[in-house]
Symmetry: C2
Subunit: 491 residues, 2 copies
Amino acid sequence: MAKELTTREENYSEWYNELVVKADLAEHSAVRGCMVIKPHGYGIWERMQRTLDDMFKETGHQNAYFPLFIPKSYLSKEAAHVEGFAKECAVVTHYRLKNDPNGGGVIVDPEAKLEEELIIRPTSETIIWNTYRGWIQSYRDLPLLINQWANVVRWEMRTRLFLRTAEFLWQEGHTAHATSEEAVEETLRMLDVYADFAENFMAMPVIRGVKTESERFAGALDTYSIEAMMQDGKALQAGTSHFLGQNFAKAFDVKFANKEGVQDYVWATSWGVSTRLMGALVMSHSDDDGLVIPPKLAPIQVVIVPIYKGEEQLMQISEKVLPLVKSLKAHGITVKYDDLDTKKPGWKFAEYELKGIPVRIAIGPRDLENGTAEVARRDTKVKESMPLDGIESRITALLEDIQSNLFNKAKAFMEEKSTRVDTYEEFKKVLDEKGGFIYAHWDGSSETEQKIKEETKATIRNIPLDNPKEDGVCIYSGKPSTQRVIFARAY
Amino acid sequence: MAKELTTREENYSEWYNELVVKADLAEHSAVRGCMVIKPHGYGIWERMQRTLDDMFKETGHQNAYFPLFIPKSYLSKEAAHVEGFAKECAVVTHYRLKNDPNGGGVIVDPEAKLEEELIIRPTSETIIWNTYRGWIQSYRDLPLLINQWANVVRWEMRTRLFLRTAEFLWQEGHTAHATSEEAVEETLRMLDVYADFAENFMAMPVIRGVKTESERFAGALDTYSIEAMMQDGKALQAGTSHFLGQNFAKAFDVKFANKEGVQDYVWATSWGVSTRLMGALVMSHSDDDGLVIPPKLAPIQVVIVPIYKGEEQLMQISEKVLPLVKSLKAHGITVKYDDLDTKKPGWKFAEYELKGIPVRIAIGPRDLENGTAEVARRDTKVKESMPLDGIESRITALLEDIQSNLFNKAKAFMEEKSTRVDTYEEFKKVLDEKGGFIYAHWDGSSETEQKIKEETKATIRNIPLDNPKEDGVCIYSGKPSTQRVIFARAY
């Protein structure tokens, strides 16, 4: 392990880029804009997936799988959707390769041209709603509550590992309902699921809110988001949930007969989170020595490192450690015992710090004599000698404490970096000097929003759901306003 | 539910096609050759995934994720591989859409042409070995044991749901080793994992064996397979495991320093199973009334249907059933209580039969009086009245019995349909009249294999690993042979 991370203070952006690679989360692939997710990174993503999947199933959803390809014409069927998504897409035009008759290797067979080009899905509303037409006839078929785990492609020009990649992994929920009210309820239910996941598993506090019109998903009547704050004071949109009204049902002619036998278009929602959450996780908790992973998402929660000289000492330590590993596992804790003799303990300590393993236990000859172990927590770096006897329940409690400490720390940081301002001068000053979430009055017009964005690069992240009503005037236009919205520079 | 399945005897192929759609496993999508996997089908696939994933992890593998796209030139780097895979592929040539200036809707932007075309992965050896070059320097980095769950695309001209589709879901293991012996050992270990999964979870007996040269994976030194037999006597290759030698390491220049510091190319394996297993599952056990799902892979293992007249009776039944549901769940059994009042019990019975739920429990007013329930097993259709008291352990035992009964039945069928023949006349007669696996002597030449295939459509499925050595003569050429191989017509 080469431990020479740029510090966050030196260059936050560089720190992130280096950390993701050095901690073996992901790397750039040979294909422009596409990443390779390495086993350590994928291990965290699997835990995110498993947790979210359980939450989706508890709220009544089932998984299904729809095609990777979308016929080009489908994108055009919903007017707003085509504006948003028929842009930078991977386009399949041919379906065969052949040997170049002129000896130039393998070439695309010009005779194997598709009649209609296929787009690699940037999101699946169109192909899914085209399918739902066959699945929904009556109110008895509703609600239809489906989720898909899949890869999607958006041909981004400037990419960053996890945060913005051409191909990424995600889940997309697509639900159909008999009434507008039910669809809105579902939209908010899934926003809550995302907030619950972000706060209680990622240890990342978020603000639930509704997006402004200009930031809505292409084809939605309302888009809700959870917004988190990174350590550099920038905002990151961590999940979105959309109320789609009857737009896609109308575009793909999906009607149902209600209890009275009357035909109506179906009401829709969609909602998604992606591997972008991996970037949010890294930027929420990690430090200049490496990753910090909340215990609930750590592929390995505890690593045990023996400190020894010679085979015999190692054997004595292993004799104590192997039953401990077994007993920690029985307590539901994932443990790795690293007794490889090709690396020194110091190297291992730095390596596991870099990789963010929440708890490290070191056991040396003196510990053997005393029946103790040295326990170090990754978040605060505090070390403590503990008796081996009954250590399992202490480790369990320690993991819980790390999980809540990470959340509390991030929450305090977010609060500290949240500022109310009442003038545009103050707004610009806070934005440049402090960053973070700025709560300010806004006149509700897209024009004002656009001008502030152009002048300051700050956008309205969302309008918090639990916003207190409060009379004020827009910081930009001076027009009256009834509530504050959250501005921030964002990822 | 429209219960008008073609019977297996009428037309086995039609029976399969209808059953997959009617039982809500999958359907054709609007995109040629691509399927939609419906929730019931995906629920079975998820159980397959979860089980296999646990088995892979128990054998030391980790998951990772590599790009969907493969640069065209990569396919050409391994000589045999390009022959096998640079054929019917989905080719991405452009990365942007735009509005037609002539008002023709959305068109592909001719200016956004890729310098090098990208192929949607038909399999990932090339992109993965190109990545491994950066991951492997020393023997300390080996073995590298990685698996990927992904979608792949092969532009098949004739498609059938699950059995052969343009896009399918699969897992592909890609491992790197310091020695040939270790790589061969891994190849066989994973073959055993597949056989274990097929037999003990899918209840589908398989023959482990090595493929002949002409049936090898493009780029492998040896391909091993598990072969299963479907109810129509045709063979289905259910999984393959490849020993790749140093072919891909050489093609992508992946070397390592051994303990003595000497550089050598790395040894490789790859192995995969796909959603094709879903087709194998259906064709192994299902009958003219619908699916039969082995309990270990059933998304719902037990369905409870109340038989009642009026609200009050339903309430009385539910009072008994709800604690039963809870207690069955506590026994690790997945249960659905279907108290929907929009369908009659008869309709429900047929529906759950069609969907292959292993056990159905019906409870009516007389059962309430007697403290009993009517328990029907899907595999044999046998019904039995059981006391509710202590029913949990009886259901557990019943599920185990169904699981082993399905395996035993399939095993007996496979044995019954396995024939040893010694002449080509006999071979053709058995093939046409009985089908199944034909054990016959073969002279070991690709020429003979090819001629038999042309004349009879039978291929050599594999050469069983536990094959007894036995002197004989090739049924086709009369040349000497030392062992029998398995011929069959196959999916």
